[in-house]
Chain length 145, copies 2
DNA sequence: CCTTGACCTCAACTTAGCTTGAGGTTGCAT
DNA sequence: ATGCAACCTCAAGCTAAGTTGAGGTCAAGG
């Protein structure tokens, strides 16, 4: 502990498992907003450990950094998130998970129905057509996630 | 129908919904292997329609082109895949789906357990630690899937 | 025969999420 | 006072999965 409660970028990296460059990158993206010392070095609040942990979890669930930033608008910089903050934000995530599971269940069902038919007919195959639900707003596979 | 059974790249694009450039790109990656005319234009077999459909489906399920190529090693070029081919290959996909669903179920469970606790403790939070299973073999979030 | 749309190659650009490197500064311990 | 690890910025590079564009060729109908 360095007397005051501020963390250097290296400290934060060690605490979160992120690389220093990744943390700087997240700052660029507006996900953390450290202060600066007189000599221009970053100094983070302890609450930023939680912010970054949250980012890691959300990323894990397939949210993009842009989506995470959006979701974190509700989380004030400079304060450790409370149970209420967390609950509010977790709704987004919960929905995301539910949707993903539902989609996968459907695909699995279709796949089981398809095994053995070997059709892959562009017109009839449920699996193939399932794609259209994803493929909205694009001409080709551009899905990328 | 152009007398013979060969398709131009444009035909194939129309039949699959892919763009011409995407099909060329897939050829680069070794996913299709068209013949050439005397004038160096590509000519595809009808069976390539199915190959490409398969790629679309697999991509949909989150497989990368590299993984798809791997899975398709079992599918001979120049023959329309049979039900048996399809079945063999679909095992890979089925496993993939099962794994994904299981992971999401676990995360959802953890999330439900976590809502209200607001912990996000790096040491204790099940959600955070769930990440380690993903995060193998890397120092930071590089998941990118 | 000739026109014209479809095709060819190759190189460069795109987005997301970072990493790596060059060249320079800070700050803490001795 | 000084050494040196850790910090700084900015630019360039990386991967995936394609797209876009320039400059040029092919082939089929009229």
């Amino acid at each position: 502990m360095k007397a005051n409660d501020l963390l250097t970028i290296g400290d934060l990296a060690r605490r979160t498992g992120l690389s220093v460059s990744a943390i700087r990158f997240y700052e660029d993206k507006g996900l953390v907003e450290p202060m600066r010392t007189g000599g221009n070095q970053r100094r983070f609040l302890r609450s930023d450990i939680r912010r970054l942990s949250f980012i890691l979890i959300a990323q894990n669930l397939g949210l993009s950094l842009a989506e995470i930033e959006e979701a974190m608008k509700g989380l004030p910089h400079g304060r450790t998130p409370t149970a209420a903050d967390w609950k509010r934000i977790s709704v987004t995530i919960r929905q995301r998970i539910d949707t993903q599971i539902a989609q996968l269940d459907k695909v699995r069902e279709d796949l089981d129905g398809c095994i053995g038919c070997g059709c892959l007919s562009l017109k009839k195959c449920a699996l193939y057509n399932a794609q259209d639900k994803w493929g909205e707003s694009g001409k080709g596979p551009r899905v990328l996630r």
